[in-house]
Amino acid sequence: MRNIWSIAKKEIKTYFSSPIAYVVIAVFLVLTGFFFYSALWWFNSQAIQMAQNPYYAQQMNINQMVYTPLFHNISIILLLMLPLLTMRLFSEEMKSGTDELLYTSPLSVSQIVLGKYLAALVVLAAMLGLSGSLSIFAFAFGNPELPQILNGYMGLFLMGAAFIATGLFFSSLTKNQVVSAILTFGALLLFWILNWAAYSASGIWKGVLNYLSIFQHFDDMTRGILDTKDLVYYLSFAFFGLFLTHSVILSRRWR
């Protein structure tokens, strides 16, 4: 555990002593803020119109009308930005030769992998935590339901954790950071839209493709529904990514 933390601390320090973390977080917050603002503005204008009609005014729901689309937007931003956060984790070490220091230290490969994973999770948590501060406005001028919002954020975090594990895997494959980012992005996007293929599939494949699609599992969470099926999906996605990373590193050294 101590070893995992040593690696994680070093990675976090690297993120924050170079522009990477700041740029990723800043751009993420600007985009999230913009989406939040537009959604809120639209909700507001709807509310003014609906105010004429008490029946429709009852139907206005800030969670459904602001947060559900916002979470979808954030998930897309994460899909675009997390590969940029993970691309350097192993690629840079391989390129600069510092992996030789790590692998000749009394550390296990799993400790190194988990340490790096943890560091990226911390940055993800910082991104989501800071974007959560936007909700102050929603709470100040409306009455959204907190558990539903928290559920959405948890969904984003779990999804991000799965994305990061995927990114870590592709980073362990290549010395080239750009290649690592592109492969991660391509793989994630493919998993995202896998349910499209389910429309034309039949029988068991329909179910399998639907189950594998990232999007399918996220939809419920944005509505405030927490299903163990989705939880298991994200956790096993992340675990599989980490397991593959571990195998790649071990097998490379045995070649």
Binding site: N3, S6, I7, K9, K10, K13, T14, S17, S18, S96, G97, T98, D99, E100, L101, L102, Y103, T104, S105, P106, L107, R253, W254, R255
Partner: protein, 308 residues
């Protein structure tokens, strides 16, 4: 202390190291000498646990590097050929991180850091970013990271490569000062490095061990003749003729205005020759013994392909 036994490493069909065996005693500095691509780096990477071997054994202080990798790694300090530095860290931050992953207990990290900074001469740059320090200092940081956990064994891969002559002398001095407390194995393709810093040498070429032993042993075993070099003011032709006739002399040749005389190692003709030269009045300017140094040895082994 360091034992390598019949080590073999193949990358696919390429054999990088074949049946390599050598031993380094405690507290000695041993040089791994060979041309580029001889298998020096591969050997070191296996010894430090970065690469597994295809066959054979390697152990450090009795810990087999394949069976007890973590125990072995704890007592090895390793400077790879490409110094593994994180440019965005300061020297102190970096050494602190290395101390942590080398399992130096938290309470001992601070003193270990101070000791290492002192030994490696890094006081002036301790709080500077690694990306901003000179090549010579980076090499020192590399040696410092190998020393931070006070390992019994130091493995240094080309420790002076890419440095200017003044820095090379400094680094060699630093390495020599570490002898005794640490058993050191260093690789190099620079001959004087071995004669100046090492107690013994293992010469490898194309992944095979060509010769190994202490410097004295090796030069002795490769010397077939002994001899002297004479520098005379006059009478070269006559001297050559007379010396060739001298009992015991095998060859006498003129080379760069000097005369090189060689004889069988079971005799010592130095006194006889000195007397003769003075008697004949050839004007002796200089007389020195010619020793077959490590350079000749290396040339013989690597170029000539002689196996011991």
């Amino acid at each position: 202390m360091i034992e390598v036994e019949k080590l073999t490493k193949k990358y696919g069909d390429l054999v990088a190291v074949k049946d390599l065996s050598f031993k380094v005693g405690k507290g000695k500095i041993w040089g791994l000498l060979g041309p580029n691509a001889a298998g020096k780096t591969t050997t070191m990477r296996i010894l430090t646990g970065y690469l597994p071997a295809t066959a054979g054994k390697a152990s450090v202080s009795g810990f087999d590097v394949f069976e007890k990798p973590n125990e072995a790694k704890k007592i090895i300090g390793y400077l790879p050929e490409v110094v593994p530095l994180y440019p965005e860290m300061t020297v102190a931050e970096y050494l602190h991180f290395v101390a942590a992953i080398k399992q130096v207990p938290a309470a001992e990290r601070r003193p270990a850091l101070e000791r290492t900074i002192e030994t490696a001469g890094l006081k002036d740059v301790r709080n500077r970013l690694i990306q901003n320090i000179s090549r010579g200092y980076r090499q020192r940081v590399g040696i410092a990271q190998a020393l931070i956990h006070n390992p019994d064994v130091l493995v240094l891969d080309e420790p002076t490569i890419g440095l200017d002559p003044a820095q090379i002398i400094e680094i060699r001095g630093l390495i020599k000062s570490l002898k005794g407390d640490h058993t050191i194995i260093l690789s190099t393709h620079i001959l004087p490095e071995v004669t100046q810093t090492c107690d013994g040498v293992a010469i490898i070429n194309e992944g095979r061990l060509m010769a190994s032993g202490s410097l004295e042993e090796l030069t002795a075993s490769f010397r077939k003749n002994v001899g002297v070099i004479l520098k005379l003011r006059r009478g070269h032709e006559e001297a050559l003729a007379v010396l060739r006739e001298l009992p015991g002399v095998e060859t006498a040749v003129r080379h760069n205005g000097e005369l090189a005389v060689e004889w069988n190692p079971d005799k010592d003709l130095r006194e006889v020759i000195a007397q003769l030269v003075v008697e004949k009045g050839w004007g002796l300017l200089e007389m020195r013994t010619e020793s077959l140094d490590i350079e000749d040895l290396y040339r013989q082994i690597v170029v000539g392909g002689i196996e011991q």
